[in-house]
Amino acid sequence: MSILVFIDQADGHIKKASFEAATYGAKLAAQLGTTAEALVLGTVSDDLSTLGQYGIKKVHTVSDASLNKMDAAVYADVIAQAAGQATVIVLSNNTTGKAVAPRLSVKLKAGLVSGAISLPDTSQGFVVRKSVFSGKAFANIAVKTDKKIIALNPNAFGTETGAGSAEVAAVQASIPASNVEVVAVNKVSGEVPLSEADIVVSGGRGLKGPENWGLVTELAQLLGAATACSRPVADIHWRPHHEHVGQTGLAIAPNLYIAIGISGAIQHLAGVNRSKTIVVINKDPEAPFFKAADYGIVGDAFEVVPKVIEAVKKIKAS
């Protein structure tokens, strides 16, 4: 019995969410008295032995360049081949994980918990807590099958590193032909991907128009943050759709979420309420967002945010 962690990569680099999955896998292995191994698909330039610092003992690689393209059918097939006797497979519940994990679940007859947020309770069976109702509640899910798959929510678990170096070895796998032909790829480069960001600065309709977004982007840049927006802002094309967070957009859980000119409608909160710290800047003291916030400033964003930017500059310089 062992644990296999699927490590997702993009452009040759390990995704941050996969380090969280590695940490989770290693802790689970310790809990179950076994070891955690990892699987990496495609060509990777990062030094994979460093996964040892996250507690991974051995890294299996299938470094075929065709695997740089994610096709759920191909990935699930290759992961299933590499899984061998592993009883628990851990993936990040990112876009790759969401595409692959369900196929793998059917293929291996392994019960899937997607959106897991903590280690299983193995005192009676195997019960994993996951996020439900768009972050408004948790469910404890019992997995009844012998093999299990856990898709861990990004930013839910954190990473932990120590000393250690993992053995890296190529594993034999036959790669099925893909039925998906990629015509064009459009990577959002140079920006922090929203789903992985530690800090997110987000703007709502209170910012009045796209010409005022400099406030959001400048603060974000200073903090090394990603930018987001409320749904109406994306709907009226002030900002691109991929920035839309909330119940019908992306659900995120950064360490810090700064909401500027967003009222805090229940559908918006559903996508951001797992953030560890929430700051709200809104001119209306009755804005519902303040009830969900940790820190707040009641004031006009056009006056307050420039001052916050200055204050951050000062603290960054000191």
């Binding site: 995704k15 994610m70 759920a72 059918a73 876009t95 969401k98 595409a99 692959v100 369900p102 196929r103 679940s105 059917v106 019960g111 899937l112 997607s114 959106g115 996951k130 439900v132 109702f133 768009s134 509640a137 948790f138 469910a139 404890n140 899910i141 997995v143 009844k144 039925n179 998906v180 032909e181 990629v182 015509v183 064009a184 790829v185 459009n186 990577k187 959002v188 994306a234 991929h242 839309h244 119940q247 019908t248 957009g249 810090l256 559908q267 559903a270 710290t277 700051v279 303040f290 009830k291 940790d294 820190y295 400033i297 009641v298 006056e303 307050v304 200055e310 204050a311 000062k314 603290i315």
Partner: protein, 247 residues
């Protein structure tokens, strides 16, 4: 061409989330039910648009649920679609539901199965992938655009760190999200027409679920907001650095 759109019944986005029976059941008292927004706004509306462009397309809707799902099925039919199928079963785990869908999809010989990217209650994002694997079909998840071109599907989908445009032959399973289409409001003609569209009820096939819900929990309440004066943004920045330790 035959398209099957899977629609799920979910609580309205403003529904109060509470639990009964020792936190083992969602409290449904006073809850309004809607079509899961991803299924409705994106999957269903895009399928309707495809049919509008090519009326020879057969468009069927599928729900796995009890009789109390019928109002949302009728609402979906009011938006469009030729007929609906309800697999008469209280929802079970994702694998159970996906097995029912795959069974109907196989029997009906559908070329294309659309699902939403996830439901807003269970947030499983699993049904599409499971259905694809059960059918042995290609799966394209997180689609933001879908077109038909030379008998193939041309799909834009979200991937880690961006998006890609890809092409795939049928049969195909696609999970849909924002970008695919715009929300529509059913009109009177649609609502009247929906009443007479066929809604076939079939019994589920026997499937063992792989997971079960033990209990639900609500997150601990927030301690309350700490307000900082608009004249003292340095104080906010200090708190974020020294107290919350997030910058």
């Amino acid at each position: 061409m035959k398209i099957l759109v899977c629609i799920s019944k979910t609580p309205d986005t403003t529904a109060k989330i509470a639990f009964t029976d020792n936190n083992t059941k969602f409290a449904t008292d006073g809850v309004q039910w809607i079509i899961n927004p991803y299924d409705e706004w994106y999957a269903l509306v895009r399928a309707i648009e495809l049919k509008e462009a090519d009326p020879s397309i057969a468009l069927h809707l599928l729900n796995v649920g009890g009789a109390d799902s019928e109002p949302i099925i009728r609402k979906a039919l009011a938006l469009g679609g030729d007929e609906a199928i309800r697999v008469n079963s209280e929802e079970n785990d994702s694998f159970f539901v996906a097995s029912q869908i795959a069974n109907i999809a196989k029997e009906g010989g559908y070329d294309l199965v659309f699902t939403g990217k996830e439901t807003i209650d269970y947030n499983g994002s699993s049904i599409g992938g499971m259905v694809a694997e059960l059918l042995g079909n290609t799966y394209i998840s997180h689609a933001t655009k879908f077109d038909l071109q030379d008998g193939k599907a041309l799909v834009t989908r979200e991937i880690e760190g961006g998006e890609e445009q890809c092409q795939a032959a049928f049969p195909l399973v696609v999970s849909c999200q924002k970008g695919m289409a715009e929300q529509r409001i059913p009109n009177m003609k649609g609502i009247m027409g929906a009443r007479t569209k066929p809604l076939k009820v079939v019994e589920p096939i026997a499937v063992d679920s792989m997971t079960s819900v033990v209990s639900f929990e609500l997150p601990p309440a927030k301690a309350g907001v700490k307000l900082v004066s608009a004249d003292q943004p340095e104080e906010l920045v200090r708190l974020l650095r020294e107290e919350a330790k997030v910058i």
